[in-house]
């Protein structure tokens, strides 16, 4: 059971990444162009739908399948960039804090606490209001939410690893601090970070959807899965396909990511199990 679901999840994720990378080249329709006269066409199996638009069209007559595929690319890009930024900043601060210790550590951890208590969505709205919604703004805002988790985790790991014998040995043999962090501490932190990063993919996608709902998500005409769900929310009864298909896509990817994340956790660091919300 566990094994099958793991392989199914891995398969799904590979499909997700492949779709994001090459999918747009395989679809004939332009995800950004549509015909108003063909708007709100249902999927082909519903009366009124056609093979031309397999999954129907959206409010501007754009092909849902093409947008779904393009949305995979944009959602993946948001995930990768956000997790990259939040991960590296958070890890850098956390590792440094744990390694150096003392008042620096205390100060940095206070800041992390503060960051956790920021009403981030309000900041997001403000930032969105300053320069309008853009890819960069979304990345900044979501990174603001997520970096502190990496900082917490890597600090803890750094504290633990710092006191291991081999690090002490490396230190006595005159290895520089930078080298110790890079050679000994980071490789030890990496597995836990990978797990956290995996589990956060879902968080990022759903958060982006909420920002789209509040009008500061990925700007049109580019589709992200989240903005597609937000776009179709008023039509859940009459044109359900607009929000349902991207909704299902989000659901599947988040599930897959969590299954893989759990499996990785069990393999890499069982002590971590469930400790990442």
């Amino acid at each position: 059971m566990q094994k099958y679901s793991f392989y199914a999840a891995i398969g799904l994720l590979i499909l997700f990444v492949l779709t994001a990378l090459v999918g747009p080249y395989l679809i004939e329709h332009d995800p950004l162009r549509g015909s108003l006269r063909a708007r709100l066409d249902p999927p082909f199996w519903i009366e009124g739908g056609s093979i031309e638009h397999i999954l129907g069209t959206d409010r501007l007559g754009r092909d849902m399948l093409a947008r779904l595929v393009q949305g995979a690319r944009i959602s993946l890009a948001v995930c990768v960039v956000v997790i990259g930024i939040a991960g590296s900043i958070g890890t850098a601060i956390g590792t440094f804090s744990g390694y150096v210790g003392g008042w620096v550590d205390r100060l940095l951890m206070r800041i992390v606490d503060l960051a956790l208590s920021l009403p981030v969505i309000l900041l997001a709205l403000l930032i969105g209001a300053i320069s309008g919604p853009s890819f960069a703004n979304i990345v900044i805002v979501i990174s603001l939410v997520l970096w502190s988790q990496y900082a917490r985790m890597s600090r803890g790991e750094a504290l633990r690893v710092k006191n291991e014998d081999y690090v002490a040995l490396a230190r006595t043999s005159g290895l520089g601090h930078g080298m110790i962090i890079f050679r000994h501490i980071l490789p030890n932190i990496a597995p836990s970070l990978i797990v956290v990063a995996t589990l956060q993919v879902g968080v990022v996608i759903v958060l982006e959807a909420s920002l789209s709902f509040l009008g500061v998500g990925v700007p049109p005409p580019n589709p992200s899965w989240g903005s597609m769900v937000a776009d179709g929310r008023g039509l859940v009864v009459t044109a359900w396909w607009i929000s349902l298909f991207p909704g299902i896509a989000i659901l599947l990817v988040v599930m897959a990511v969590n299954i893989v994340g759990d499996a990785l956790t069990d393999r890499i660091n069982p002590a971590l199990r469930g400790r990442t919300a």
Partner: protein, 307 residues
């Protein structure tokens, strides 16, 4: 103990000060309310007049200092809205709706999440375990505004069981709390399941069984009491998620809370209200974290001695 409390107070104050500065600067660069309050045919003279009325003609640093100075005396200024309501009063009048909703949602999340986590851990590996984890994950992967709207359509429009939206009776709480709580449900379930598994495999649970106490006592007293410690640790974070989620959920369910007040005040550039809302929310976080620490002391005897 006294030193700890003073330290905490100083920290809390510093946090609030920092937050006020961040919000002050952020909100000033996003445009001013003047343009919004002027009519379409207003002239430059009209604008200057309004700027003066709102004291927006002073240099920024002076505006900030006078804001902080007044805030220290409990005066957070007045809404730029024509009603000129006291900003703090305005926020406080919306606070009960938000806090009660967050509390109900948190209670729902904790009760259901803990129950699901325990069930999943006890039946580990079985189909029940799988089912519970899938349900929890569903909650985490559905955007809350969408879940809310779908719930409204099914429960309220189709079945006619509950009111669609609004604030008032206990029935009004159910759908928004469900929507708000669902996102954290997965986190709680995961957390409880994992720490329950740890606890169930522990020596003290073995000893309890060896003693011959009933399985219910083993699970609910010995294992669960330990599993709750990590849940308590994360309560602050859960609460933060709730408040963040409130902006969305309060909009969908027409809930008159501070989440929507914050959103509206940002949209209308109502500086004093923005500042007050954010500061009140920050203060609430600090309080919540303090409460979590207290709870921690109560639940984990090891912490009492460590402190």
């Amino acid at each position: 103990m006294l030193r700890q409390i003073t330290g905490r107070l100083i920290e809390a104050f510093a946090a609030l000060l920092l937050m006020s500065l961040v919000i002050f600067l952020l909100s000033r660069v996003t445009g001013d309310p003047v343009a919004l309050l002027l009519s379409d045919s207003a002239t430059e003279a009209d604008r200057q007049m309004l700027i003066e009325q709102l004291h927006l003609d002073q240099p920024m640093w002076r505006q900030y200092l006078s804001f902080v100075g007044n805030a220290l005396q409990g005066d957070f200024g007045q809404s730029v809205n024509a009603g000129r309501q006291d900003a703090l009063d305005l926020v406080m009048s919306r606070l009960p709706a938000s806090i009660s909703l967050a509390a109900v949602a948190l209670a729902f999340t904790l009760v259901v999440g803990i129950a699901m986590g325990v069930v999943a851990a006890v039946t580990r590996g079985s189909w029940i375990d799988v089912l519970v984890r899938v349900i929890a994950l569903l909650g985490q992967s559905v955007p809350s505004f969408w879940l809310g709207i779908v719930l409204i359509y099914i429960v309220s429009v189709k079945w006619g069981l509950l009111p669609t939206s609004g604030y008032g009776t206990w029935q009004h709480y159910i759908l928004p709390a469900l929507t708000l709580g669902t996102f954290t449900l997965a986190a709680v379930t995961r957390l409880v399941r994992a720490s329950m598994l740890d606890a169930l495999g522990s020596e003290y649970v073995k000893l309890a069984r060896v003693k011959g106490v009933s399985e219910a006592t083993v699970i609910f007293k010995h294992a669960l009491s330990n599993s709750l410690i990590p849940v308590v640790t994360f309560m602050g974070a859960f609460f933060a998620t709730m408040i963040t989620g409130a902006v969305v959920v309060e909009t969908v369910f027409a809930w008159p809370g501070i989440g929507r007040l914050a959103y509206e005040s940002i949209v209308s550039r109502d500086f004093p209200v923005i500042q007050t809302v954010v500061l009140v929310i920050t203060a609430m976080f600090i309080l919540a974290n303090f409460a979590v620490d207290m709870l921690y002391l109560a639940i984990d005897p090891r912490m009492r001695d460590a402190g």
